[in-house]
Symmetry: C2
Subunit: 202 residues, 2 copies
């Protein structure tokens, strides 16, 4: 197993490419992540990338696929371990925040794809991720309303929008501060407010 080889199998090289993009996005604007920069980050010449991806768009599509798979898996895992809908929402919130703190480049590429004008494979992938994420949230919110843990009078869709928006607000604050790890410290305080927004009142 030649781990330190310059030659990698196609699968390994594709995975390394995705990793390189995520790493670059942590410190660079997605629009200035060129194929040359990606190749440099992974210690390979620019032309070599096109042995494994037909276009740059295909690279971004793979990145979005990686994000969707990892994030949803961790979200589902967090939700499954919780003993009530509200606790599940809190676990998802913190898991999501952790994921962003670990991979600060992810929200950058996410936003970058979503604000594309034309439809594209990576954008479609991003939309699918958001939709699936929203579905999970709405199920949990409905379950919480049914169990009395959440107020039955709240609008489920609005509550899901607020959930995602809350995380986005945190991400943006950390982008402003330039310190993405700070998001972990501020997240609990903001979730307290979210819980007040949706929780049933004693």
């Amino acid at each position: 197993m030649p781990v330190h080889s310059k030659h990698l199998s196609a699968d390994e090289r594709r995975a390394a490419t995705v990793r390189a993009v995520v790493q670059l996005a942590a410190q660079h604007n997605p629009s200035e992540i060129t194929t040359t920069a990606i190749a440099q980050q992974m210690g390979v010449t620019q032309g070599a990338l096109f042995k494994h991806f037909p276009t740059k768009e295909a690279i971004l599509e793979a990145v979005m696929g990686w994000v969707a798979e990892r994030l949803l898996a961790r979200v589902d895992q967090a939700a499954a371990a919780a003993s009530s809908p509200l606790l599940a929402l809190e676990a998802i919130f913190m898991t999501h925040v952790d994921f962003v703190a670990e991979h600060p480049g992810v929200p950058r590429v996410m936003f970058g794809e979503l604000q594309r004008a034309k439809m594209s494979a990576p954008k479609r992938m991003a939309q699918l991720l958001i939709r699936r994420y929203g579905e999970r949230l709405q199920h949990l919110i409905d379950a919480g309303k049914a169990s009395g843990e959440l107020s039955s009078s709240i609008d489920t869709a609005a509550a899901a929008t607020l959930f995602v928006g809350t995380i986005q607000g945190l991400v943006m604050q950390s982008m402003l501060a330039g310190d993405v790890r700070r998001i972990r410290n501020e997240a609990p305080g903001v979730f307290v407010l979210y819980r007040r927004a949706i929780g049933s009142r004693p």
Copy 2:
């Protein structure tokens, strides 16, 4: 006063340039708003832009300045007309949503600037806007806590973050749907939740 002239004064031409960028951003990704596209949008050749702006970055800086001035003016106006801190927050919320609905390109350029890696004049301007906006929110939230209209136990900074994040969530939902005007319909429902989060409980 030659209103239909192809020649405009420097001030008018700069204003027209800002308007063109905001219009373009409503339908195009900020990263693909080229100087050629800006010039075409305003019926002028590409080179003419550089009679009034030294660089493209200076154009974006002017755009951010325009946004900051207009948005903060409307926010202050809305707040001044309200008769209580909570009503002021609601008025600001709806005013902000209206502003975005009128100028769908604004959040795009805003996000685009904020996710820049290096510091730049336009990014600095965006940061200043956010900071001033946040200050106004925090003052109102503190005033609301003092008057008993808002819960005195909430974290002011977190409440301000949540306010901005809430709007961002709405913007992103509308970007996904591709229909920015829908944001007006969904805004009231989401603000109801925000009020639950910060309001004092009877």
